[in-house]
């Protein structure tokens, strides 16, 4: 047991921290919230040059072949600075290609992703808004050498700028909802696809994507026909840990900003941070951060080493969802009225706690997984 980061990971962290501090000021974050694209293509290109998009892609496909845990180190820094854009969407959609893609699919997509030339996303949720297989109704019907997809996906992260969309479809009505699920890699320029950005709390460009008679060649099936749900579970598991790592960084910023402000802000002729009523809340914020941190690191370590961690990933997500929301709420309250102004940085974090909470499975969704994993019948 050694819970320190490797030297390589420390370098990655320092590089990312310096880069993001310089390149992603909060003025840019606000600007991107209002912009149509929701990300900065120039910044995206620079991130690609640092190797970030290729971080988890093996060298033979143009990446640098780092581990999942290395990725979470980077994500923690991204979360610290709440960098907007399609980084999580792209990386979490890269994993299914790495793990379930054909050689042709890998060769065709991975080098482009690593170069920063291809943005990916995964279209999972539909009108039910649930993360289990019962929510998948969108149909993909075989027709000759292709499938025809019809239906609507919702909450698809950055779909409006994605070059390809991994679409989770129903190809067979079976007894169990998990049976008959098939994933397709869909070129978003295909005729019949339309996309509209939904107005969300974090203004993070979640999209409605409509598929009207969209023709997708059979070779674009990702994994095995009718047996795609296992891939979705993998995406949810990795995505949950990834978003948790991001949240840890955001939680840390909330704690640091609040403590710094409490030392500075004077009322009753003393810094408000001298009052125990506030000190104890800050101690609780710090405690919540540390309990989250090692829970997430442990899940990331297990995932990174190929150990089964369905339970640990769900535990981390269910727990961190609430911690991020609570800590950012307290950050607003301890700042006082000033942090309810949209000009303040803390609300940027508070609003993102809502996005983090629903992405890759809500608290109750993951708790139900945990309930099964701890042996409840």
């Amino acid at each position: 047991m050694d819970l320190r980061f490797t030297e390589e990971q420390e370098i990655l962290r320092q590089t990312a921290r310096g880069f993001l501090a310089a390149e992603c000021p909060k003025t840019l974050v606000r600007e991107l919230e209002q912009s149509e694209k929701g990300y900065s293509p120039e910044l995206w290109k620079k991130m690609a040059e640092l190797g970030w998009m290729g971080l988890i892609i093996p060298e033979e496909y143009g990446g640098i072949g780092y581990t999942f845990q290395d990725l979470t180190v980077l994500l923690e820094e991204i979360g610290r600075n709440i960098l907007p854009g399609p980084f999580v969407a792209t990386t979490t959609s890269t994993f299914p290609i790495l793990e379930a893609g054909t050689e042709e699919q890998k060769k065709g997509l991975l080098p482009e992703i690593a170069q920063g030339d291809l943005i990916l996303t995964t279209a999972l949720l539909e009108s039910d808004g649930v993360f289990d297989a019962s929510g998948i109704a969108i149909k993909a019907a075989p027709k000759g050498d292709a499938f025809i997809i019809n239906g609507t996906k919702l909450f698809v992260d950055m779909a409006h700028v994605a070059g390809h969309i991994i679409c989770v479809t129903r190809t067979k009505e079976g007894t169990a909802p998990e049976k008959g699920i098939t994933l397709f890699i869909v070129d978003s320029a295909t005729a019949g696809i339309s996309c509209q950005v939904m107005p969300t709390t974090a203004q993070d460009k979640l999209c409605e994507v409509r598929f009207e008679n969209v023709n997708v060649p059979k070779k674009n099936v990702l994994g095995t026909i009718d047996e795609g749900w296992a891939i979705v579970e993998m995406i949810l598991r990795k995505g949950a840990i990834a978003r948790c790592a991001e949240s840890i960084g955001a939680i840390q910023t909330c704690v640091e900003m609040t403590v710094a402000y409490a030392k500075e802000r004077v009322q009753y002729e003393r810094p408000v941070g001298a009052f125990q009523a506030l000190q104890h809340i800050m101690a609780d914020m710090w405690t919540a951060m540390e309990t989250s941190r090692y829970l997430v690191y442990e899940a990331a370590w297990m995932e990174s080493n190929g150990l089964p961690c369905t339970k640990e990933a769900s535990m981390a997500k269910a727990y961190v969802n609430e911690v991020y929301r609570n800590v950012s709420k307290w950050a607003v309250r301890l700042h006082g009225a000033i942090a309810t102004s949209n000009d303040h940085d803390i609300p940027l974090y508070y609003r993102r706690s809502k996005a983090a909470d629903t992405a890759f499975g809500s608290t109750d969704f993951h708790r139900e997984i945990v309930a099964g994993q701890i042996g409840l019948v």
Binding site: F5, K263, Q276, Q279, H280, A283, T291, Y294, M302, I374
Partner: protein, 394 residues
């Protein structure tokens, strides 16, 4: 980053678990909760028996230097604590083995180490802690009990309180005011004393559940050899701080809760309400799952603390955070389990009590961890002042 154990550690861990499991076969059914060992004779005898068995394997001296009979390292100590916590096995004296021994190793003279460490390692001598006083709780430095040097003895007069198991303990360690004229924090001395010394009167305090594991200890001209000192005369505060640092990562309590959760899950699977297992009730599932998440978070943080301590690095903030978290988790767990058990949650150990009445016991025992070892409010001050650097109000 690596959360894994080496093969050697895994096999050590298995040995710890197997031994505690075997010992649990002789466990008296009346031993419910953490403090019952101090209550009933059969429980105290079981405590001494477990101590003897652990001593035979050298496990009461884990992490000690070999010259004092030690073996293994800090990680072994953590793994041993996990196994004991899981099976609720007593025998590794909280005060002697877990707190005093590491303190002596760092702060005591060679003579004191040679005299007091071997009986701890043999599991023969059980200790109690003589710190708090009626007017010195969280503000321990406000203590008033004096130990005045007369020749080669100290003469102690005054009162200590909340002394766990003082009526069972063979020896006690405490801090006493030795220089009443000196300034705060430089006026007290850390002393070791035989609890059979004339002039000591011990009175159990009735605890809120009707048991009496804690005592008041009165001192009336109690004479202690001056050689029984740890650290420097009048500088006992430094020893107090050192010893407080050895007050556990919480792994023992966390593993005890892990087992409690497993047993509660089994209970919910087996017990039918409204024609179906309790385990099918979505509310029960949600609450148990939430608790499991928090327990996993507590355990991960305890490993963090252990990992830091293994490398002799400071763990002040994380240790305080861990203590706050696992102890308040204990509260939540006790209340939640009580809710799930419904009216049975109030039944004391008897034929009507599910799970041998553990959750009725826990309704009272959770206060042990939130209040002792530095109240959680003091722990929050530690994080705020020493960790976050917030101004200390005077």
């Amino acid at each position: 980053m690596d959360f894994s154990l080496t093969d050697e550690q895994k096999s050590r861990s298995r040995e710890f678990y197997d031994t505690c499991k075997n010992l649990s076969k002789k466990r008296p059914p009346s031993l419910v909760g953490f403090e019952a060992i101090y209550e009933l004779d059969e429980c105290w005898e079981y405590n001494m028996y477990c101590a003897e068995e652990f001593a035979k394997k050298g496990w009461l001296a884990l992490g000690w230097p070999p010259e004092y009979g030690g073996s293994g390292d800090m990680m072994d100590r953590v793994l041993f604590a996990e196994a004991r916590g899981y099976y609720g096995t007593p025998g590794a004296d909280i005060f002697g083995v877990q707190m005093l021994a590491p303190t002596l190793l760092q702060a005591a003279s060679e003579e004191i180490k040679r005299e007091f460490l071997p009986p701890i390692a043999r599991g023969e001598v059980m200790w109690c802690e003589l710190w708090s006083e009626p007017n010195a709780g969280s503000d321990l430095a406000a203590l008033a009990t004096t130990a005045i040097r007369k020749g080669d003895e100290y003469v102690i007069n005054g009162q200590k309180t909340w002394n766990t198991g003082a009526h069972r303990a063979h020896w006690g360690f405490g801090v006493f005011k030795t220089d009443p004229a000196a300034r705060r924090h430089h006026n007290m001395t850390f002393l070791l004393l035989d609890m059979k010394t004339p002039g000591i009167t011990i009175r159990p305090i009735p605890y809120l559940d009707g048991s009496a594991p804690y005592c008041e200890v009165y001192f009336d001209d109690v004479r202690v050899p001056a050689k029984n000192i740890v650290g420097q005369e009048h500088e006992g505060w430094a020893v107090v701080n050192l010893l407080a640092g050895f007050e556990r990562s919480g792994i023992n309590e966390i593993m005890s809760m892990m087992r409690g959760l497993e047993q509660l899950v089994a209970f919910c699977n087996e017990t039918k309400r409204r024609g179906q297992p309790l385990a099918k009730d979505p509310l029960v599932r949600n609450r148990l799952a939430q608790l499991a998440c928090e327990l996993a978070a507590a355990r991960a943080l305890a490993y963090r603390v252990a990992d830091l301590q293994n490398r002799n690095e400071m763990s002040l903030m994380d240790a305080s955070a861990g203590k706050i978290f696992f102890s308040e988790l204990g509260e939540r767990f006790a209340f939640m389990a009580g809710d799930i058990l419904g009216p049975y949650g109030q039944v004391r150990t008897s034929r009507w009590a599910p799970l041998n009445g553990i959750w009725e016991k826990m309704f009272h025992e959770h206060f042990i961890t939130t209040i002792s070892m530095g109240t959680n409010e003091i722990q929050r001050n530690i994080i705020a002042w020493y960790g976050l650097g917030l101004p200390r109000m005077r």
